[in-house]
Structures are given as C-alpha cells and as structure tokens.
C-alpha cells in the first residue's frame, strides 16, 4: 500500500527512527513491514523492517489522518540508504504487517527481554505491549502497570549501539546493559548478564525469554535458555524478496522434528527449511538448526 514519510530522526551515528503515515494497521510485536521508496527500481526490492510501534490518529505531513508506523534502522546498504534520504511527504510502498510475532502465553509472569544492537525494535514493541503502553495523538501515555514482571537485557558493541533504553524504562522494565567495549554498563556480552540474572533468579516457571539481535547473540541466548529450561523465542532475519511467502528466498534451517519422510532418496540428509517471513520471524529457539 501507499504510505508516506511522516518524519525522519537521526538517533545517532547511522541509526535512524523513521515514521510513515499509513492506512490503519494493527500489529503484533515481532511483525514486520516491507518498505521501499515508491517509483524507483533502485533499490529494486523492498526491505523488511521490524515494526517498532504504531501510533494511531496522527496527522500526516499533508494533514491526512491515519496511523503512524515507526521503524528503526541502521544505514548499512542500498535499501536503508535510500530510506534515510527521503523527506517528509515522500511516498513509499509499505506492505504489512507481515509474519508471526512473539507469542505470549496467557499465564506468563516474567518476560526476559534480550536485545542486541539494531535488533531492538521488536523487543521494544513487546515490552510496550506487555506494559500496556498506549500510543496516540502524538503523545505516549505513561505505562499502565501491566501484570508482568519485565526484565530487559540490552547490549551493543559500544554505547552508541545501545538503543531505546528510555523506552524500556518508561515501560517499567528493569534494565541490564552491556557493551563489548565497556563504554556503557557491563563490559562484555548481554548474554553474560542474562546468565548471571538467571543464576540468582527466583522468577519460577512462568517466565520466558524474547530475543532479537545478531545471529551469534541469539544462538548464545538459545543455549542459555536451554540450560536453564526457560522457553525462548528469537526473532530472525534473512534476505528476502517478497515478505509474504511467495519467493521462498528467506529460508531458515530448522531441526527436523521427525525422521525424513518416506519420499525417496532425494530427501535424505537434507536440511529442513522454514520461511523466515511466513513461519517466523519469531521462532521457538529450539526449532532452529543453529
């Protein structure tokens, strides 16, 4: 669908927060949108961006009322560069929400939220949902205290790669921050903080881990979750063309739950794949063939 740039804000360095006015859109944390500038073949394909939040009933740059979809990205390649050059009112093709977000069991008591670098948007979306943070009319109302205990672990290479800390605080989450160079919080990996926390935790059985970040971090989180016997969902990314299951490009190798089916020799010793866009991007960590 057609959407237009509402605003663009440089957070710091290469990190941008971009807002688009769009038709009404209801999303689950972890779902994503495909976005590209309209009317251009360069970049050719849209790119997938996790939805950070959706604000309702805001005025667009041309006075039109609608939703405002927020994404957060780091300028790395052609797609993000093109988006970061757009001006308010510029048109974009925006498709979504797509995919499956994090699944939250009804009896969850403690959410352990782990975010690394630019993987932070779906985790912020989840913490705001769990804390019942409401968005609208351009203002964010303070969190109505939710019924979940929220513990966030946010990491990055350096302090400048650690994003959205104030959003976690506003949602009422307890914050644990790590940077690899020690410029902010604990020097080391965010998974070390998670492990330390779990060793002394008394959260009990009804806790779950929700993570998004670089692949090695997610793998480490999955191992920690396995060791402590805590359910864990990870939000993954993969190169994709369409975002809705048609191109079959964005495959994620998964564990074969059963023996290879009896469909003949061509199937033996082959990886089983799921589509990041349609089966994910949020997966149960045990499902992934890391």
């Amino acid at each position: 669908m057609q959407a237009e740039v509402h605003s663009l804000r440089r957070l710091h360095h290469d990190y941008f927060l971009q807002r688009f006015t769009s038709p009404p859109l209801v999303f689950q944390p972890g779902q994503f949108v495909m976005v590209k500038p309209s009317g251009s073949l360069d970049p050719f394909l849209p790119r997938a961006y996790s939805i950070l939040r959706v604000q309702h009933h805001m005025r667009g740059s041309r006075g039109k009322r609608g939703n405002v979809v927020e994404i957060l990205y780091r300028v790395l390649g052609k797609g993000t560069t093109a988006l970061s050059h757009l001006k308010p009112g510029d048109r974009v093709d925006l498709l979504g929400p797509l995919g499956n977000g994090y699944r939250v069991p009804p009896n969850l008591s403690t959410a352990l939220l782990v975010a690394g670098g630019i993987g932070v948007p779906p985790v912020v979306a989840l913490v705001e949902k769990l804390a019942n943070v409401k968005h609208g009319n351009g203002r964010r109302r303070s969190a109505v205290r939710g019924r979940h205990k929220l513990v966030a672990f946010v990491g990055g290479k350096a302090a400048s790669d650690v994003l959205c800390l104030s959003d976690f605080r506003k949602a009422g989450a307890t914050l644990h921050v790590a940077t690899e160079d020690g410029s902010l919080g604990h020097q080391g990996l965010v998974t070390e903080l998670l492990e330390t926390y779990l060793r002394s935790s008394v959260d009990g059985l009804r806790s779950a881990i929700y993570a998004c970040g670089p692949h090695p971090m997610l793998h480490a989180v999955a191992r920690v979750a396995e060791r402590f016997g805590i359910p864990c969902q990870v939000s993954l990314e993969a190169d994709m063309a369409c975002g809705f299951g048609a191109c079959m490009g964005c495959v994620i190798p998964v564990q074969s739950s059963r023996q290879p089916m009896n469909h003949g020799p061509s199937n033996m010793n082959q990886r089983i794949y799921k589509l990041c866009c349609k089966d994910g991007p949020a997966f149960d960590a045990r499902e992934i063939a890391w």
Partner: protein, 354 residues
C-alpha cells in the same frame, strides 16, 4: 509530437469516464484503494474484451502469474481476488518433496534479482493433498508447472495431474538453472522433443513447455517443442547469472550462480518472443520483467498471446492487477475492442503468425 497527441486523447477518455462515474456500478474486484480508479471510471465506456485462447484454454484475460513467484495461490489471497487473473501458474511441483538450496537464495541486482531457490516444493503427493483442494475452488484456470528428473518422471507427473479435477494445463519446467540437470531438457533440442512428446502422449491436457533463454538459438528449442506436439510455449525462464561480493571476494550465492529476473531481462525476453513468434505458429506466453500494462503490451506486440507477471509480485503483490488494469487502459486509449490486433503487431509483415 505524436506521443503528445496520444496522451491527450487518453486524457479525454479519462475525463469523459469521470463524468459518468456516478452511474457506474462498483466493479466486483478485490483491488482496493486508488488502484481501482484506473478501471472504475472507464467501466461506463464499453469495456474491451480481454479474452484470449492459449492452446485450447480460454482465458478471460491474458495476465497470469509466473511459476515460482506466486506460491500455491494462498500466499496471495490476502491481497486480491485470484479469480481476476487470466490463469494461475503455481510453483514447480516435483515427484518428491524438495527442500531447496541453502540460503542466501536471493540477491538484488540492478533492475532485477538473482534467485537460487532450487525448486523447493512439497512434492506431487502433498500438492494433491494440501494445495489442490484450495486451487480447485478458484474459477480461473490452473496451470501446474512440473519438473522431472527424467522423461519418464515428467510423463508420470503429467499423468497424475491429468487424472485429477481442476487442472487446465501443464507447464513443463525444462529451464530451471538452479538444480542439477534442471536445464538439460531445455537446452538440447532432442531432449526437448523427447520430453514434450512423452508428456503429450500421456495427457489430454494442453502442454506448455517453458523455454530457457540460456541457449544459442531459442528458435531451435521452440521448433523441437512444436514438432513434439506442444500446445503453446512459455518464455523466458531466468537467465543464468552471478554476482560477487567484493568485500568477501566470494560469489553472493552459495551455488555461485542463480537465475536473473526482473525488468533487467525484459529486452532479452521481448527479443526471444519476437524470434520464436516468427519460427513457430504456437501461441506464446511472454515472461520477463513485466511490471506494467505497457510492458505486457510490448510482449503482445512481439507475438505473445498472453503474459506472466513474475518478479513484480515480490515488489507488489497487486502487480498482476496493475498490469491487467494498465492493459485494459491501453486498449481503451487506442480504441481497441480486444487484444487480438496487438498480438504480433510489431512483427515484420511478411511473416505469418497466429
């Protein structure tokens, strides 16, 4: 100068349409938002007949989806009414399920993309069980694209599809560049002949080989397919290509090469349709980087009777509807009552095509 006149004429038709907008009954179509206005206002003018016939299959319009860009239909149902399409061509079905190639499978290139999916599909058994029941509910013709490892396997797949309800025709994938042996049947005219003849003898359904551009002379393959009894030809499949990451100094795709598609290949596809249209008398389905109605017209002018929209679906799931709307708008703009006068209109006059 000439172009200016044409566009002015087009503008007049549009304004006339707008005046009558109030009396127009809303078109039953899932195309939403501003897009429907391309068709809506003009529906007061007599609508052109978009129907064409491909190898005995009557299509209400010449716009289909290309195999491998449309899944099995269900992927696109959230976006529009699939019955608006001329036909649906589903992802290649093989005898056994295939997991496909390791990722990454997609690389963006200038004006297009490389893919190396590797024919990931559920296999013919699960296709029957899981995919056909939904596809049968559609009113639009279904073409099933198949790929076999041998002549016998192609024939076997064709037979199993003919024994079931709801399949209007069979497209033969003899041109996949991303699996071992995938190109064999489409690059050797003797093998093309053998496989098309074997399928032809097995099934009463129309047989439509999908030709590869990765040959010296595509008309040789086209003639072999025609001689073997093909009812129509689809062309082109993707072009074998590659991209190298200058940072890692390695190919971007794990298997090094992939298939190039998108507007980047359109001029090549148009030329090949043009060549084949002059070499055989079969109806042709033009494929290659079609993004708009005018792109589709270009293929019709080169000799195609229908088109398939492929890579454009990835950029915009409504692409086939936009192509259809653009094609209809073109016919209206030039006062054409149907698409027939366009088919092969750009071909040299001394050649006969039908």
């Amino acid at each position: 100068m000439k172009r200016n006149q044409k566009s002015r004429r087009g503008a007049r038709v549009e304004s006339r349409g707008k005046k009558r907008k109030a009396t127009v009954t809303r078109r039953r179509s899932a195309v939403v938002g501003p897009r429907s206005s391309v068709l809506g206002p003009r529906s007061s003018v007599r609508r052109p007949d978009l129907g064409v016939e491909i190898g005995g299959i009557r299509l209400k319009n010449p716009v289909m989806t290309a195999s491998g860009t449309f899944g099995y239909g269900t992927e696109l149902t959230p976006f529009f009414d699939l019955n608006a399409l001329g036909a649906i061509v589903v992802k290649t079905v093989t005898m056994h399920p295939r997991q496909g190639n390791p990722p990454p499978r997609i690389v963006e290139t200038p004006g297009g993309m490389l893919n190396s999916i590797g024919l990931q599909n559920v296999g013919i058994d699960d296709f029957h069980r899981q995919k056909l029941p939904f596809l049968r509910t559609l009113a639009t013709p279904l073409l099933v694209n198949i790929a076999g490892k041998s002549v016998e396997e192609f024939a076997d797949l064709a037979k199993r599809l003919s024994d079931t309800e709801g399949v209007a025709g069979i497209e033969l994938n003899i041109s996949c560049p991303n699996v071992a042996g995938g190109l064999d049947f489409g690059t050797d005219p003797h093998l093309t002949y053998e496989v098309v003849r074997a399928v032809r003898q097995t099934t009463p359904l129309p047989v439509i080989p999908k030709l590869s551009p990765n040959v010296t002379d595509i008309t040789v393959i086209a003639r072999a397919a025609a001689d073997a009894g093909a009812n129509a030809l689809s062309l082109i499949n993707t072009i074998v290509a590659m991209a190298i990451d200058v940072r890692t100094r390695k190919p971007r795709l794990p298997g090094a090469t992939g298939g190039l598609s998108g507007p980047a290949i359109r001029p090549i596809a148009v030329r090949m349709v043009w060549d084949v249209a002059q070499a055989v008398k079969l109806p042709l389905i033009g494929i290659g980087g079609i993004m708009t109605g005018e792109d589709a017209v270009e293929f019709l002018l080169a000799g195609a009777s229908a088109v398939q929209v492929g890579t454009a679906n990835f950029l915009d799931p409504l692409a086939p509807m936009k192509v259809l709307a653009g094609l209809e708008a073109y016919l209206v703009r030039y006062g054409l009552e149907n698409v027939t006068p366009l088919i092969g209109a750009a071909l040299p006059p001394n050649r006969e095509t039908e």
